[in-house]
């Protein structure tokens, strides 16, 4: 059994690499409302919830990102680089035997001027910190996926639905199939539109029941307009949908990813600007010393993790399959917008799990 003090010593040694950053502390108890609002109900299955008579429902921090972003948005100067080291708490599946509390060592960069260089900086530092171990890295870019959805020639409502479910692959695929006309259409939709046409929405509502709850009849008639527009819209072009699907399956070394994505962009012309960003980032990664010929780009990487990453994402994995990654991270601009009360700042960061690093090191000894 590894001593906790050994893991802390490992963590402190690793933290030396982030010496240029401001060390910060964060509260362990975080408002459950904030986390629920950001992550949705699933966070309840992952975080420990407790209760305070004055502050209401609280959660033991499942990560540092939210408290650090909050702190920065309240009082931080720009640009800013922070590092932190402390316990996070995660509820695990029954019988999984995985730890429910462990150290996280993090590095976060808030920088408006050169976000792509910041992506490269964070990833390169994480690789350097773990460089003496037998690790393999993987990268992705949620920004490319969002841009590909935006590039589809279809109505905004469909793009919004796809964007919203990009993190739920099964649902995403079902929606895409529906919008291309190959999948099942929404059940009962045609009947509803027909009845609304014949009887009028007001009459349907009057017959159904009293208008209880916060949702208003205006909201319902706005949705009816959208559903009508959707029913009238042409299906998404089959070639475009195919390109999106093959984009999602793309796995290639980072240095070759640009060319592979260019092939897809031939049929999805709107993708070009995102590809330029991608190419610039690959250059920045190369300049930062990242071996871009050896590290894969996996288009779907990061798709099933927490929803807040919206750009570059990465993971650094140990030699043992099935173990949690040694490090993960990515860009989360949208999160700062949600927490910032109207303000926002481009942000990228990553965390190392010292106990996983220690386990790999011990395995070598």
């Amino acid at each position: 059994m590894t001593q906790k003090s050994d893991i802390r010593a490992e963590a402190e040694a690793l933290q030396a690499i982030f010496a240029g950053a401001v060390p910060v502390e964060a509260p362990m108890l975080v408002s459950a409302d904030t986390l629920l609002d950001l992550y949705g109900e699933d966070i309840r299955g992952r975080a420990f919830t407790t209760h305070d008579p004055d502050r209401g429902e609280l959660m033991l921090r499942p990560d540092f990102t939210v408290p650090v972003v909050q702190m920065h948005m309240e009082s931080g100067a720009e640009p800013a680089r922070y590092t932190y080291l402390g316990e996070v708490f995660r509820m695990q599946d029954a019988g999984s035997g995985r730890p429910t509390e462990y150290l996280q060592l993090g590095y976060e960069v808030f920088d408006r001027e050169a976000p792509l260089a910041a992506d490269a900086e964070v990833f390169a530092l994480m690789l350097k910190a773990l460089g003496d171990l037998p690790v393999r890295a993987v990268t992705g870019d949620i920004g490319i996926l969002l841009a590909a959805i935006e590039a589809l020639r279809t109505i905004p409502a469909r793009k919004a639905a796809l964007r919203r479910h990009v993190w739920r692959p099964r649902r995403f695929r079902a929606l895409l199939d529906r919008f291309t006309g190959v999948g099942k259409s929404a059940k009962g939709r045609a009947d509803y539109l027909k009845t609304a046409e014949e009887k009028g929405l007001a009459a349907m509502i009057a017959q159904a029941g009293p208008p209880i709850g916060l949702r208003t009849t205006d909201e319902m008639s706005a949705r009816l307009d959208r559903l009508r527009a959707e029913a009238a819209a042409d299906p998404i072009d089959a070639t475009e949908a195919e390109m999106l699907v093959s984009l999602l399956k793309t796995k290639t070394p980072l240095s070759e990813a640009g060319a592979a994505l260019q092939n897809i962009a031939v049929d999805l012309p709107g993708l070009e600007p995102a590809l330029e960003v991608f190419a610039t980032r690959v250059r920045a990664l190369r300049e930062a010393g990242v071996p871009v010929d050896d590290i894969p780009y996996d288009a779907s990487y990061g798709r099933t993790q927490m929803e807040y990453y919206d750009g570059f994402v990465f993971g650094i994995l140990g030699p043992q399959p099935g173990q949690p990654p040694l490090a993960t991270g990515g860009r989360y601009d949208a999160l700062t917008r949600q927490l910032g009360d109207g303000r926002e700042i481009p942000a990228v960061g990553g965390v190392i799990r010292p106990e996983q690093v220690h386990a790999v090191r011990e395995g070598l000894a």
Partner: protein, 230 residues
């Protein structure tokens, strides 16, 4: 000797006694109506009358070898329930459906797909997630995750859940219903694909209880009787 927990009150207790009785296992209360003493005639079984809601916990911890309770309670209250208990018999009574219902006047919401779309609109318009009142947090959350519904939030409701929508504390509910009358009276309508779980009274065996030679023999005798009579 094995321990068997059965519901201590009302129709569920009566039906349980009847179910066992029709299989040749006679259960009876000892003492007055007010204490919870009970016994099984001629069987190496220690009978315990308990709140149906506590039986899942006792099964999971292994303090009960066997227990009768609603399958909804076991699935809600025991994490990874199928690793903790085994179903010995579905008993054919105590039926209740855990369902999702929305205001009946939401004429444009008939499926989970609609609910998901409206949840997105609702969040954009009201700046908060669509609230679903329930006491079945685990079952509802797992069900909605599988269905790909997002942008909702569960609010805890331990009773009178059907009234929460009219009272403005939730937009939708997930609750147990047997006939649907209470739902209709509260102007709620069940989603077509909103069936989360069909619950019934079920006889469970705890995997965590102590199973040695003597308790296994007792279980064998008990099961033999159920099989022969059933």
């Amino acid at each position: 000797m094995i321990t068997l927990g059965v519901p201590s009150k009302g129709r569920l207790m009566e039906k349980t006694f009847q179910w066992f009785s029709s299989r040749g296992i006679e259960m009876r209360r000892t003492g007055s109506d007010r204490d919870y003493g009970a016994e099984v005639a001629g069987m190496p079984v220690d009978l315990r009358l308990m709140s149906a809601g506590e039986i899942p916990r006792e099964l999971a911890s292994g303090r009960l070898h066997l227990g009768v309770t609603g399958s909804d309670l076991v699935q809600e209250r025991i994490p990874a329930w199928d690793q903790a208990v085994e179903i010995l018999a579905e008993m054919g009574f105590g039926h209740a459906d855990l369902i999702i219902a929305v205001p009946a006047w939401w004429v444009d919401v008939r499926t989970l797909d609609d609910l998901d779309a409206v949840a997105a609109d609702f969040r954009a318009t009201h700046g908060q997630r669509l609230r679903i009142a329930t006491k079945y947090h685990r079952l509802v959350r797992d069900f909605l995750r599988d269905a790909g519904v997002a942008d909702y939030r569960l609010v805890d409701s331990q009773g009178a859940t059907e009234g929460t929508v009219a009272h403005g504390t939730a937009e939708a509910i997930a609750d147990i219903t047997s006939t649907g009358e209470t739902l209709r009276a509260n102007h709620l309508a069940i989603l077509e694909d909103g069936m989360i779980h069909r619950s019934e009274a079920t006889l469970f065996r705890s995997r965590a209880a102590q199973w040695n030679e003597s308790t296994r023999a007792a279980l064998h005798k008990f099961e033999e009787q159920l099989r022969n009579a059933g």
